[in-house]
């Protein structure tokens, strides 16, 4: 009896240590998840943080709380306990522990990026844990057993309540009649196919539902980090179409050789296909999209608006970069009182704005106001263009709106030194409003020398407002930026001809 009590205490001790690990992982991973969503894709693309990769990936079966609940981690002290009491175990117990351990090893090493693999042994894991605990307390008093069962019940009940929002989310997606959500997209694809008498192919970005629900012909494009398979699945084999070619050349091959006229893509996954994203941005127009984030793009002519602006005049130059009338130094709050096209449209904390001149060029330096203030600071400068206003949108639907701006950055106040610390968040963006806001953003990492940044966005049908600007979040009070020569261009659709 004494021996069994000691076993129970040892087990409880191991449990307490593991519970502390769980607590740490929940806290740390919780903090990590709060700022960045899409853990699956971070692991899948191999860009996860080491901590998340360890707890959420390799040891996901035990510590991926939001997927497997609060009970599965108990398997860890059980395994450790069995390991230390191996000599006293029956042969079948050793067999169970060995196979379970090997299975955990396989799903951890080979399937860490996808919780589905750990899920394979999850029911087994839960059942084994419960049987193990039952066996451990079988000869204890009724009170001890009741306490253990109540504790376990409490854990799973907390799990239910913690996941209610997820259950609701899943249930809300049930359409009820077995037909695909917004079946229209497959009708549209079939319509396009009929109209072209089957003489057009689709580029299918890893979406097998295309083949399941539509009758059109497609070429699949995949980019899988873990299997290493990347390319276009053609008659001749898997062609790594972007290897050694520019996006424009790949675009040409797809159109000419493989007669691809349309792209079928899930917008939620588009960020994982950079080259395809490039092609869509430069050479395609959206012809169909639905609520489930599926889109069909028509492949037009490849077109790079950045090249085009070299031969175009900016449309709104004069009053944009002329800082005439501004005092040499002011705060961002004071700047708001001046009637300049470049507005402070969002501010948290306070900034200094200094007008400077260098080799005849005038530029603005923006820096945090109080060096001693370490609270979060955010500044957003924008130019806005609205239908019916002085600065009306001079772009038609489909035209490119292009913003070019030169920037430099210092990390030691107004000095020239570039520090090694955490980088400031800085981006140039354009967004248009057509029922909702859609933003194209370019992350900038300028150094002490001037760098030119160009961001462009295709204007959507019905857009009445376009905003372009700079978003700046310094992470320490010594980070400042300089901006000069902002210019906005409109590259009409017919410029591609």
């Amino acid at each position: 009896m004494k021996g069994r009590n000691r076993e129970l205490y040892v087990f409880l001790l191991i449990g307490a240590v593991t519970a502390a690990c769980v607590l740490v992982s929940v806290l740390v991973i919780g903090i990590a998840s709060a700022s960045k969503n899409g853990g699956f894709y971070y692991s899948y693309r191999g860009i996860d943080t080491p901590l998340r990769l360890l707890f959420h990936g390799y040891l996901g079966l035990f510590f991926r709380i939001n997927t497997f609940g609060f009970l599965s981690w108990i398997a860890v002290p059980c395994l450790i306990y069995i390991f230390f009491t191996l000599r006293r175990r029956a042969s079948w117990e050793i067999a169970v522990a060995a196979v379970y351990f090997l299975s955990v090893l396989v799903v951890g090493i080979k399937g860490f990026y996808n919780a589905r693999y750990a899920f394979s042994i999850f029911p087994l894991s839960v059942t084994l844990v419960l049987l193990f605990i039952h066996d451990l307390i079988r000869e204890k008093t009724v009170q001890v057993r009741a306490a253990v069962y109540l504790a376990l019940s409490l854990i799973v009940i907390v799990n239910v309540f913690a996941n209610v929002p997820q259950y609701r989310k899943y249930l809300s997606t049930i359409t009820g009649d077995g037909s695909p959500i917004n079946r229209g997209i497959y009708d549209f694809i079939n319509g396009v196919n009929r109209k072209a008498s089957g003489n057009v192919n689709f580029l299918v970005i890893n979406q097998p539902d295309f083949y399941y629900y539509s009758g059109a012909r497609g070429y699949t494009y995949k980019d899988n980090v873990f299997t290493g398979v990347r390319g276009l699945y053609t008659e001749e084999g898997i062609l790594d179409i972007f290897s050694g070619r520019t996006a424009e050349e790949a675009f040409g091959i797809m159109k000419e050789k493989y007669n691809i006229g349309y792209i079928y893509i899930n917008e939620r996954k588009r960020q994982n296909f950079h080259e395809i994203d490039d092609i869509i941005r430069h050479g395609c127009s959206l012809v169909f999209s639905d609520e489930s984030s599926m889109s069909v793009y028509r492949m037009e002519d490849y077109f790079d608006p950045v090249k085009e602006i070299e031969s175009l005049e900016p449309v709104y130059t004069d009053d944009f970069s002329a800082w005439t009338g501004l005092p040499a130094h002011m705060t961002a709050s004071e700047y708001r009182e001046f009637d300049f096209p470049l507005k402070v449209s969002g501010i948290r904390g306070e900034f200094d704005i200094t007008l400077k001149q260098e080799n005849g060029d005038r530029y603005l330096v923006i820096s945090p106001h109080e060096l001693s203030d370490t609270s979060e600071r955010v500044l957003q400068f924008t130019y806005s263009f609205e239908k019916g206003e002085d600065r009306a949108i001079q772009a038609k639907s489909g035209d490119f709106f292009v913003t070019s701006i030169a920037m430099r950055q210092w990390t030691q106040g107004d000095g020239k030194e570039q520090g090694d610390g955490e980088k400031a968040e800085l981006s140039v963006f354009i967004q248009d409003f057509s029922g909702n806001w859609e933003r194209e953003s370019l992350a900038a990492d300028p150094k002490a020398d001037w760098n030119n940044y160009v961001v462009y966005k295709r204007i959507r049908a019905g857009s009445e407002t376009v905003i372009t600007g700079i978003y700046f979040v310094p992470v320490d009070p010594y980070q400042s930026i300089g901006i000069r020569e902002p210019a906005v261009y409109v590259v009409p659709t017919d410029a591609r001809k």
Binding site: Y211, Y233, E235
Partner: protein, 374 residues
């Protein structure tokens, strides 16, 4: 009721119930020593009907391709009907034990819930008030959980097949049906659709859709309801198996188990969004139960059932194959019997495993896409 729903119901009853009962009868007949609970055999066999159907379809499409739907349908039906006829005497045993269980259960409810345990092996352990009280609560909650799951499953049948893997399995099932053949090439490009069947997916699950297409072609219906029901069906089988297994200890344990399982977001997600997972995990979990029994008891029926369930686990997913290999290694090194006896048993299990679920991997490795080597 709409005609097509009658067809779906017929398909379900035929494949999941009747065919499964045929296998249940066979294994019951083989269990002369009553080493396994009859109820367990039938409960676990409920998953075997669809699995054996896909196995027969696989071999027929591989060895006898390009025949009519009627040929494949009648061949599968004939095999199962023959089994039912031959082992018809074992069938009533199921109902005997089921009736006995219901009687015992009703008696327990009548006597103020003193012993609410399904087929409890050690009932003397529940004779205390705390345990009675907890058992009553646990029973009520298990019932509520199961009813809720049935409800969710019922409304989830309306969901389309939109996930990446499930639609890939669907396309594959459609290809098997349209070609009426399973072929292996290094680069399986389908010129008609442009689809490349280059995944490492095992064939069992897509063949369920092929079976649905074959059956429905005969009845002039076109849909995938049966294929979608399969995911929910196996989900319920996993839950039932777990509740049954844990309730043998006590109902509170079963209650904690079922809640731990279905309250996890991943499990809940699998009911709403269809996937191969519930199908393969059922076979994996049950194979593990029989693996433990094989080691503990060393009887041939447990080994046979381990081979069958591990075989289908492998036939559904390659992970099942690897875990089955671990189990075989454990049998070879840990089972208590003479070395040559163990070696003989392992050889028999391996042969059965390859026959049921490994042929695809062997052919695909050497004649197809290269499977494990790519």
């Amino acid at each position: 009721m709409h005609y097509r729903y009658i067809v779906y119901l017929f398909e379900f009853m035929l494949t999941n119930i009747l065919f499964s009962l045929a296998w249940g009868s066979l294994f019951t007949a083989l269990d002369g020593k009553k080493s396994c609970s009859r109820f367990e055999i039938y409960l676990f066999s409920l998953g075997l009907g669809p699995a054996f159907t896909t196995m027969f379809l696989y071999y027929m499409l591989l060895l006898m391709p390009r025949r009519s739907s009627l040929f494949y349908f009648s061949a599968v039906c004939c095999i199962h009907l023959a089994l039912l006829v031959v082992f018809r005497k074992s069938l009533p045993l199921l109902f005997e034990e089921l009736r006995g269980g219901i009687k015992a259960f009703a008696g327990a409810v009548r006597s103020n819930c003193t012993e609410i345990c399904f087929f409890n092996e050690d009932r003397h352990t529940v004779r205390c008030d705390y345990q009675k009280l907890m058992n009553i609560f646990a029973f009520v909650f298990i019932t509520l959980c199961v009813l809720f799951l049935l409800y969710v499953g019922f409304i989830a049948i309306g969901n389309p097949l939109l996930g990446h893997d499930i639609s890939a399995y669907g396309v594959r099932g459609n290809l098997y049906f349209s070609n009426r053949a399973i072929t292996y090439t290094q680069y399986p490009f389908d010129p008609a659709t442009g689809y490349v069947n280059y995944s490492r997916h095992a064939p069992s699950f897509p063949l369920l859709l092929t079976w649905e297409r074959i059956t429905e072609e005969l009845f002039g219906v076109n849909g995938d309801v049966f294929f979608r029901i399969i995911c929910i069906y196996y989900f319920m089988l996993i839950v039932s198996a777990q509740v049954h297994f844990l309730s043998k200890r006590n109902l509170v344990l079963a209650f904690i188990g079922i809640l731990a399982l279905v309250s996890s977001t991943i499990f809940f997600r699998k009911v709403v969004y269809f996937h191969v997972d519930t199908y393969r995990i059922f076979f994996l979990s049950v194979s593990f139960i029989f693996f433990v029994r094989s080691i503990r008891k060393g009887d041939n029926l447990s080994l046979l059932l381990f081979t069958v369930f591990a075989g289908f686990s492998a036939f559904a997913h390659s992970l099942g194959l690897f875990i089955a290999l671990f189990c075989i290694l454990a049998i070879l090194f840990i089972m208590k019997s003479g070395f040559f006896e163990r070696l003989g048993k392992v050889a028999a299990v391996t042969a059965g495993l390859i026959l049921i679920g490994g042929t695809h991997y062997v052919i695909d490795t050497f004649l197809g896409t290269g499977w494990i080597f790519r």
